[in-house]
């Protein structure tokens, strides 16, 4: 009750501080002092604190199961474990928007603290642009999705959190994802500020690169957590469904990746200035666009939140205000520096980074068009189409091969002008990759040519980066690790898709099922009662071809609040393969439908994403970009 009031009024105070900050910083902007007014720091800190207070009080309401709060009533239940009561805070529309605000205010405060060596006017402008976004979101929260709506009479019991969201990976997924997804707002504000101040320079590149990398690392890990969740909770062993919600998080990731590559060119050569600015603006615009697509209910997806047209219209308008504003600023203030363009020699690091950007933008266009095209078509012609995995695979896979090759060769080149060094070893690596791939794939797949190109390119990157890791000194370790991680990821995903095998069958208690030397034995059933659900656990003994017996215990959970049956897969993970078993009730019989899958290299996929992020992490703490 009290927490509710405190939370609500802290939000309003936070909004007031936004206006106050704007006034004070505009005053300070005109002032000729060298240093930023100390008050700005204090105000920004206070704003952050109020958002934190508001967030904490929502958490408190959730912990106390205070059903006078509408959000708590809709998304919680007294019988839920504490952990999921807390994670329920951001598992819904209103609470997650509060998390947005938290990240927005946190990042601007950190930015102010960390940018003391930057020009004052630039910092103040960044603050102003960020406050604009913050005000927009405060208004959005307060007007359309207030998390502290009061309910009377107070219900006795809440409606409960959707059972598929009650999961540890998904509990930490939103905060981490948002640090990257919303964190890109600071890049947006900083880029706009730098353009107005004509401060797109090597120093700026060096300073903003850290923020780009921070967002990128969090976004990568956040996406991975989402995938892990989808792997064992949603799906039948799939981990990426090209669902609009997944696409929406992938798009900013692609632009961020492109951005921190070409920011290096800016840092080194003071070239590509406009492009860097455009990318910085695009990244956050895509984040906003994604929020619009997911929250407005315009899309049909697994994860759509409850929709309310007012929300959609608000975000849409806000999104386009931001786009037009940044467009205006860009066209009015931005001066392209037409410095000596001949410096771009075709065989140079710059060119290879341009090629990276070229491919990244292509992938982005595929994902973006694939996601929004059905909406456009529906509005224009009233015809509905589905754009699913085959579309993305067909358009992306053929380009992945060359992309991987460039990724292997690019880092070998030097700035300005270079020759390919160690040509022989590269050729050897290439030959080894191709031979190896053909040998491995020979009797595996029907699509020989297609996979050969793709996998040998991935192997090539794998070997060259591996070689780098062992042979070279540690001067470019972050890049090598990240590229190595990427090659590992592509390889494991490809081999995973080629080598996965599955058995789907209906089985009775006590029955044995044999196929291809694999035996599945349904041993017994166990029933259990937990605080928020009843579960039926099946005990299965599976004998593999090698005679090894694995015991798997998939589960059916019957949740009461809300009533829903979910099936929990049981997964035995080993270094090289996952054994995955999930069961389902078959209507009106004693049979259970089971799916048994052997999925190789799953662990390697997660591990490679971690490697990728780790590469980015090293780069953040590195003093300077070497060579």
């Amino acid at each position: 009750m009290l927490a509710n009031q405190i939370g609500y009024y802290s939000l309003i105070l936070g909004l007031l501080f936004s206006f106050l900050l704007c006034v004070v910083s505009i005053k300070d902007f005109k002032n000729n002092n060298k240093k930023i007014n100390q008050n700005i720091f204090i105000l920004s800190f206070l704003q952050l604190s109020f958002v934190i207070i508001s967030f904490l009080s929502l958490i408190l309401s959730f912990i106390n199961s205070d059903f006078s709060n509408e959000t708590v009533f809709n998304n919680s239940h007294t019988a839920k474990p504490l952990f999921y009561k807390i994670s329920g805070t951001w598992g819904n529309h209103e609470g997650s928007l509060l998390l947005w605000l938290l990240v927005l205010t946190l990042f601007i405060f950190l930015f102010l603290v960390k940018s003391s060596n930057q020009p004052k006017k630039y910092r103040i402008l960044t603050l102003l642009f960020q406050q604009m976004i913050i005000i927009g979101f405060f208004l959005f929260v307060l007007i359309t999705s207030n998390p502290f709506n009061y309910l009377f009479p107070i219900p006795k019991e809440g409606l409960g959190l959707n059972p598929i969201l009650q999961d540890p990976a998904l509990a930490i997924h939103p905060p981490i994802l948002y640090l990257g997804y919303v964190g890109s707002s600071i890049i947006f504000s900083a880029a706009l500020a730098a353009v107005t101040q004509n401060y797109i320079s090597k120093e700026w590149a060096q300073h903003i690169k850290k923020w780009v990398l921070v967002s990128w690392v969090f976004l990568s890990i956040g996406i991975m957590l989402g995938s892990i969740w989808a792997y064992y909770e949603l799906g039948w062993g799939g981990f990426w469904f090209w669902d609009p919600v997944e696409n929406v998080s992938l798009m900013p990731w692609l632009t961020l990746t492109a951005l921190f590559h070409c920011i290096m060119v800016l840092e080194k050569r003071l070239a590509l200035t406009s492009w860097v600015v455009i990318l910085s603006i695009t990244t956050f615009t895509l984040s906003m666009c994604g929020t619009f697509l997911v929250r407005s209910g315009i899309l049909n997806s697994v994860h759509t939140f409850a929709n309310d047209p007012a929300r959609g219209i608000f975000i849409l308008t806000f999104l386009f205000i931001l786009i037009f504003l940044s467009l205006g600023i860009f066209f009015i203030f931005h001066k392209e520096n037409n410095k000596d363009p001949s410096n771009f020699f075709w065989l140079s690091k710059e060119t290879s980074i341009l090629i990276n950007n070229w491919f990244m933008m292509y992938f982005l266009s595929v994902v973006l068009i694939g996601t929004v095209y059905p909406i456009f078509l529906d509005v224009v012609t009233a015809e509905k189409i589905s754009v699913g995995p085959p579309f993305y695979h067909k358009l992306i896979a053929p380009f992945l091969g060359p992309f991987l090759l460039f990724m292997a060769l690019g880092p070998k080149l030097k700035w300005i002008k270079s020759k390919v060094e160690k040509r022989n070893s590269l050729i050897i690596f290439f030959a080894v990759s191709v031979v190896l791939t053909i040998f491995v794939l020979k009797n595996l797949t029907t699509d020989l040519l297609f996979y050969t190109v793709l996998i040998s390119a991935a192997f090539f990157l794998f070997f060259t980066t591996l070689n780098e890791l062992f042979v070279k000194k540690l001067n470019n370790i972050s890049q090598t690790i990240a590229h190595f991680g990427f090659s590992l990821m592509i390889l494991s995903i490809l081999f995973n898709s080629i080598l996965s095998s599955e058995i789907i069958t209906n089985i009775k208690l006590g029955e044995k099922y044999n196929l291809n030397k694999i035996e599945i034995f349904f041993e017994r059933i166990e029933e259990k009662k937990e605080s928020n659900f009843n579960s039926i656990i099946g005990h299965f003994k599976i004998t593999g071809e090698n005679g090894k017996i694995v015991e798997l215990k998939p589960e059916l959970r019957i949740y009461d609040q809300p009533t829903m049956i979910t099936s929990e897969a049981d997964i035995k993970t080993t270094l090289l393969e996952d054994k995955f078993l999930v069961m389902n009730l078959v209507k009106g019989g004693e049979y259970f439908n089971i799916r048994y899958q052997v999925k190789p290299f799953m662990l390697l996929i997660w591990f490679s994403v971690l490697l990728l992020s780790f590469g980015g992490l090293i780069s953040i703490f590195k003093k300077k970009y070497e060579k």
Partner: protein, 173 residues
């Protein structure tokens, strides 16, 4: 000059996007298929509900009458809602009701008919649901109106209500 031209194009494009997305927001999200009117009825063979003998679709639809194909199941709750309306429709002489018993247990289905009455001139068994797929159905209940030229002229997804029943009556007049 060139810059201004670019700016103009970008702004036009963005306005277009805004308009589309704005309109898209107001569109309903529930997918109702664009129903191409006047589809031919599928050709099939199915088991009769009572005699358990195979009947040909040509035989079923041979009379010069309107037909209503209704997909139902005893386990489907909304089917009970619409049942009285179906009974009423079946009294109409210019129309023949054909039932498709969707993925059901035959005993339960027979109980259902005994309890609530039989509106169907002919009832067919669709154990696998494949017959319903041939009609382009989503599930139960679903109702198709077929005219004298043996084309599907109307389709109702979900239980029919008073309004739908009136509409059907208008068609079969």
């Amino acid at each position: 000059m060139k810059n201004k031209f670019n700016l103009f194009i970008i702004i036009t494009f963005l306005c277009f996007c805004f308009a589309i997305l704005y309109k898209g927001l107001n569109n309903s999200n529930i997918y109702s298929p664009k129903f191409n009117n006047l589809k031919n009825i599928p050709i099939f063979k199915a088991k009769d509900f009572n005699s358990n003998l195979f009947v040909d679709s040509k035989k079923i639809f041979e009379e010069d009458k309107f037909y209503i194909v209704n997909i139902w199941a005893s386990w489907c709750v909304p089917c009970r809602e619409e049942h009285s309306l179906l009974m009423e429709l079946s009294k109409n002489k210019s129309v023949k009701l054909i039932g498709l018993n969707y993925r059901d247990n035959l005993d339960n289905a027979k109980k259902f008919i005994n309890e609530f009455g039989n509106p169907y001139a002919q009832n067919l068994i669709d154990n696998e649901g494949s017959l319903s797929i041939e009609f382009g159905a989503y599930g139960v209940p679903e109702t198709f109106v077929i005219n004298k030229e043996k084309k599907i002229v109307k389709k109702f997804i979900g239980p029919i209500n008073e309004e739908a029943a009136e509409e059907i009556k208008l068609i079969i007049k």
